[in-house]
Amino acid sequence: MMIRGVCRVAAVSLLLLLVSGSPATAADAIRIGVLNPLSGNLAPLGQDSTTGAEVARDMVNERGGVAGMRVEYAKADAPSATAAVTEAARLLDQEGVKIIIGAYGSSISLAASAEAEKHKAIFWEMNSGSLKITGRGQRYTFRTTLTFKHLAEGAANALTEVVAPRLKAKPTALRVVMMLEDSAYGSGMRPLLEEALAKAGIKPLAIEMYNAKSTDLSPLVLRFKDLAPDVVIASSYANDAILFARQARQYDFNFKALIGTGAGHGQADLVKALGKNADGIFTTGATLTINPAGLKPQAKALLDEFNRRFEKKAGHFASTHGAMGFMGAWFLLTEVLPRTGGSTDPEKVRAAAYEADIPIGGGINGFGLKFDPTGQNERAFSVVQQWQEGRLAAVYPTALATHPPILVPLARWKDRPE
């Protein structure tokens, strides 16, 4: 009896749900879905990416929009792969978008792009570096930014072109250790780093994977200290990068150079926490500050405007992921969509994307835009940067460098001022 009542209620609610679901459309606006982790562990950089994309949208709208139409975003929070599938489906069905841009976090991107592909909708990857994203033969997935492979090559370059010469040593003679956090980021970087180093003839003395959420990295520090390496290569998030540096200091574990591969080592948190001790740390990735000579004039003006607006919106200066979010959205809105006349029809967007041709130096971080057949931007690359006096400076390749590298070798902890 009661069960029949429940069934009736369920049936009615289901019907109501069916009837109520209908996508909202405004004829005079271009709607694009933005999907990022806005809550949970990946939230800080996910929020940065969405903020960067919003800055792009605001700037485009102020300049008259795309083909005279306003650009509007439908935002989604996808803190995990499971949520990514549901949120992507929601954006595509309920919000009616045909393009989704995002996403920070490779597993989130993988899940969301697979969902978009099933709908034959565009997934415009702006942040994640896993090779699998453009490596699965998906027709409608494009990536504007660099991949883990670029980061790994950048780290190897940092070692062979920047650190080794300044140490007056051959790269193959250097003692190198690697530390990698054990989630998808570090896991993905590991084989690529090994490969990039092997190409330079370098085999690390030790490769340790650790949990980024550890409260204590002393086992790692002490193990490394025992090996007395010259160079530490690290794929870390911010918290563990900071913890490692502090514990290295405490245990008097000295090394001549520390090369990060982006993520934690590229974040403002590093400087906030370590102060002067952050200076000298290398990282690779997309630059925030680039030698103006390496940028086209419009790109330079764009960069200044972006930095101002981002800092105003977010309250901190833009991380590499904030810049990538801006860059990806900007490319889409100013280079690709104008070619379709503002239409977000996936086939048209796809064709337009392949026509895009921006030379290196055209993007605010020096990237150009040209997609290879798998949908990967061939003109994305990794720049070696270094923290100098609290800000990131580009140091290699020399054509794009803003400053020469400093502090190679790093001073011993005991010799540093308090």
Binding site: G40, N41, E208, M209, Y210, N211, D216, L217, L222
Partner: protein, 293 residues
């Protein structure tokens, strides 16, 4: 020699674990509730210390004086409003009330402060002392010292004061204790609140070394449970000893086997304890039978 350093590091870490766990084990023993929001008390304490430092420039170690009582009060309120109504309910209801509280606090913190990791820069935070070849980091030593002092104070409280004895009596047999005229309700509140206060102080002690973010409590709550069980549910002394043991096990296994596996080993230890001696180090055999009366 490096091994000695590793063991010392483990002990220092273990001191913190002990402080976090001692409140949890008491709550188990007295109120008979597994409080899954315990880690969140630590997180709130840590954020409070951070806010005090950012806004008023108060040193986290001094902030303990504020954080302790503040979290004590919070624990008191939580016990009265959320825990008391489910004292007689099933284990599940109790656990899920605390899980709900944990989810609420974590995400409340996320909304207020965002997901960024926030740390404090203290001039002495990277100071180290050398005892022979052993390196002792100042914040870790202070945290260890304060944690141990508080634990000993707690033990003294339990042993020699009226309310301390009331707590122990309630843990042994709440019915008889009630019959003897002791307000067990107040004992519950006191115990729960003390656990919260200690966890909050542990958070403040961690701030000089470690960044705070909304989900920082999750890592600690699991270790706290393992330490509590290892030490023997309800035994404060057990929790203190077990905390030190787990700290050493963690750092030692990370060093000898692999840093990535340092957390794995204490789970293995936990499962072994359950098989071999579920009463834990200092629990009474049979004391693991926590029947709700």
């Amino acid at each position: 020699m490096v091994l000695l350093q590793v063991v010392v590091s483990g002990l220092l870490l273990g001191g913190i674990y002990a402080l976090v766990s001692v409140g949890l084990t008491l709550t188990f023993g007295v109120v008979r509730i597994a409080n899954f929001a315990h880690g969140e008390f630590l997180m709130v304490g840590m954020f409070l210390a951070w806010v005090l430092h950012e806004r008023a420039g108060i040193d986290p170690y001094l902030a303990c004086v504020v954080v302790g009582p503040a979290l004590f009060a919070m624990g008191f309120l939580v016990e009265r409003s959320l825990i008391r109504p489910v004292i007689q309910a099933s284990h599940m209801a109790q656990i899920f009330v605390t899980v709900g509280l944990a989810v609420f606090l974590q995400n409340g913190a996320l909304m207020i402060w965002g997901a960024d990791h926030r740390g404090v820069i203290l001039p002495y935070a990277d100071r180290v002392w050398f005892v022979g070849p052993i390196v002792l980091s100042l914040p870790r030593v202070v945290a260890f010292a304060v944690a141990m002092a508080l634990c000993l104070a707690l033990l003294a409280f339990l042993r020699w004061t009226y309310w301390g004895k009331a707590v122990r009596a309630t843990a042994e047999d709440r019915e008889i204790t009630r019959v003897m005229g002791i307000d067990t309700g107040r004992v519950y509140s006191l115990t729960f609140a003390t656990g919260a206060g200690l966890a909050g102080i542990a958070g403040a002690l961690l701030l000089p070394m470690y960044a705070v973010y909304p989900t920082v409590g999750i890592q600690f709550v699991l270790v706290a449970f393992i330490v509590a069980v290892l030490g023997g549910l309800g035994s404060a002394v057990g929790a203190i000893l077990a905390g030190l043991v787990i700290g050493v096990v963690e750092v030692l296994s990370g060093f000898l086997i692999a840093p990535g596996l340092q957390q794995a080993l204490y789970f293995v230890v936990f499962l072994l304890v359950l098989i071999v001696r579920p009463a834990g180090l200092l629990g009474r055999r049979g004391a693991e039978e926590l029947v709700v009366t």
